[in-house]
Amino acid sequence: MSSFVGEKDRKIIPRWRGFEGSVETSIAGHIEPSVDVSASLQSNIDDWDREQSLWTALDVVGGAIVENRLDLATGALDRLRSDPRTPPAALALVAQNERNLTPSEESQISIQDRCRDQIRVSRRRLSDYPFDPIEWIDLARSFTTLGSLDKAQRCIATGLVLAPSDVFVLRASSRFYIQQQDPERAQHILTKAPRTLKNPWLLASEIAAASSAGRESALLKVATRLEQADFRNEDLTELRAAIATAELDAGSTVKGKKLLRRSLRGANENSLAQVQWMDRTRLGNIIDTSTANVPDEHEAAAWRSFFEGKWGNSAERALTWFKDQPFSVNAGIFCSYILSGPAGLPGQALEVLKIALQANENNLVLRNNLAYTHIQLGQLKDAEAALASIQKIPSSLDYALVQATTGLLEFRKGSLENGRVSYDSAIKIFLEEGGDEHAGRAATFLALEEVRLRTPESPAAVKLAFALTENHKRMDITAKLQELNTEVEHWLQESGKTVIR
């Protein structure tokens, strides 16, 4: 049985994107540039109008780039592009400027190939100029995605030495240590940076890191003051969501609700996902998140579609979420779950899992989902190997999850008795540990296996499945029950009966 996380525990952990992709969302204090043309640029333009040579064209384009007024240098730009004598580096720099002005398009090549390319580029750049903290962090991200975590850690350390108070560097470093299951260190990096006290993005990350470490942030009061300071809503949205989460965790529902609603003003995809999750799990769907106008809402949209039972849409959004954060455990688990299960795309799930496991080699749920996906694809030996590779089972619920998958594998191998024992053990533990929905899902899976094989144990298994899923609310369980119903109906038609006894 595959599984996913995110139902019980979501923190507003900072997203870690490549620098170019993240900067628009984390910079406080925007100003609108002047529309006037400076005397300097005007002088360049006059020179160009008078003497349309290549080098005056280069000069006017240079001035226009500095003032973000390339619209005034279109003739000169045309000249640069058409003149074979234009220095190639000038064309490359102009192209880079244009890339920075337009949203980046999703690359068609795979995540791993893209990371390898990025590592090559970053290494070359850092060999030319090693004092670039951002490039070290970008390199760390690529290494993290590919699972070279020691190398990534060294890059993070270098980035932190070069820019110990930069927002991008601090947030990415904090995110890296959360990824490394070291939330204390993730918090420490932020707590010791003086800038954290004044920057809403850093404070939001600090609160999330503290919360991941299982403690309350000592900076909550500072955060509450800063939340009301003169920042753009876009700069405060994650901080508001982080404080709201802390308030709701502490039982302050009224404050939490207010902050969640405020967080929707200027929301980004991370804060929207947090608001939506808090609303669904803690408040019972009372907040209208449709007012938030977030352009690239991957995670929130994936969850929303999931709970609406729109599997195709949910899978599509989950894949975008995963491509955005390919090292994220939650993205990997959710994406593999939806692809291998409700969306019926186990081949794609396998691809996702291979990538996700590089950064999270020992993650039990990912390994369990890998085994489940292999079972779906009929690759039973691979499934067995995936289950055997699980080294540590931290909790009884995790153990039950593995037992359920083992049960499925045993059924597919033809060892029905072993399968039943595993499933029974899983269901028992789920019920004992309060995992009622998981128990219902495991029972449904068991019943499906029994009915498909038309075993004498089928009626009892079906009854148990329906009994344990009586109060469920999830669309994925509903879908599984429908599958079970259909299978039962086929069986009844075959046997000429009307009721299973």
């Binding site: 609108e32 002088s43 006059d46 973000n68 930069d166």
Partner: protein, 339 residues
Amino acid sequence: MLLGLTLDDGWIVTELLPRSLGQTGGTFSCSYKIEHPDGRKAFLKAIDYDMALTNSDPAGKLKELVDAFVFERTIVELCGNRKLSRVIRAQGSGTKTPPGKNVVQYLIFEMADGDIRKQLSQMPAFDLVWRLRCLHHVFVAIQQLHGSEIAHQDVKPSNVLGCGHEGHKIADLGRSWHAKTTSPFDSFGCAGDTNYAPPELLYSGCTLTEEERRLGADFYALGSMVIFMFTGLRMTAALMGAMPIDLRWNRTREPYANVLPQLQHAFGSVVSQLRIDIQSDELFSEIKLIVEQMCNPDISKRGDKKHTASIGTRFVLQRFISRLDTLATRAGFGKLGAI
């Protein structure tokens, strides 16, 4: 205004030159070509006080213009007296009253062939030796100025003029700084052209020593000239082009210290892009080193640190000049490989 008139020392004003010619804030000055009956040609820069009278604060504007003119005259005379060979020579100054107009003050400079943009555009092929030699001359010019306690503060391609067999010289000292003379631009955050200015002067919140503000800006501008010679773009444009739009100097209130990591990232990108145009590893590593030390966005990393201990300042150009001279000589012998 002066066209067709004969000046007191026999010069005849023969041609009004286009206004800007890259001059920073030259709105109130006019440039003329002048010829002497003995065949000499020169360049005349005249201050148009009449235009100042149309300003909303004519008295203030007049004072500003007079102060600026007097300052520039003082500086060019000082350069002349010290015989700075790489600075455009002033050949005189004076006043003339055109019929029906107010008095016009002027400075006469030696005539140049044109600025390097024009020269580069007329070159049929890439000439590495020429470019390195030109850079060498500009570096020497700034060294001569620094030796006279003057910071140019407005080094840019349009102020580097070709002077025939004499090579290249630096022009336009109107925005310069002199340790012993007060300039009307001393209080400006950025005295020179902002579009060529170093990032520490563009972003807010950077505390600078006088040396860093003046000599550091010249160092940056010289490094920018190196970038210009090889990529055609000034450093400020290359840096801003590589910065995300929301972090550019005219789009954010973030202080210099907060954007420095991003500027370093942009700088790293510019240094890497240099490889596209410089294939020779030896030349690339030399140019990279010069650019890194001349126009590092982090002002504290700019300059030649080897000199700090011995002479108390890192803003010393000697080693860069030697390096450029060696490079130009080696390139002349074809020893730098294909570019």
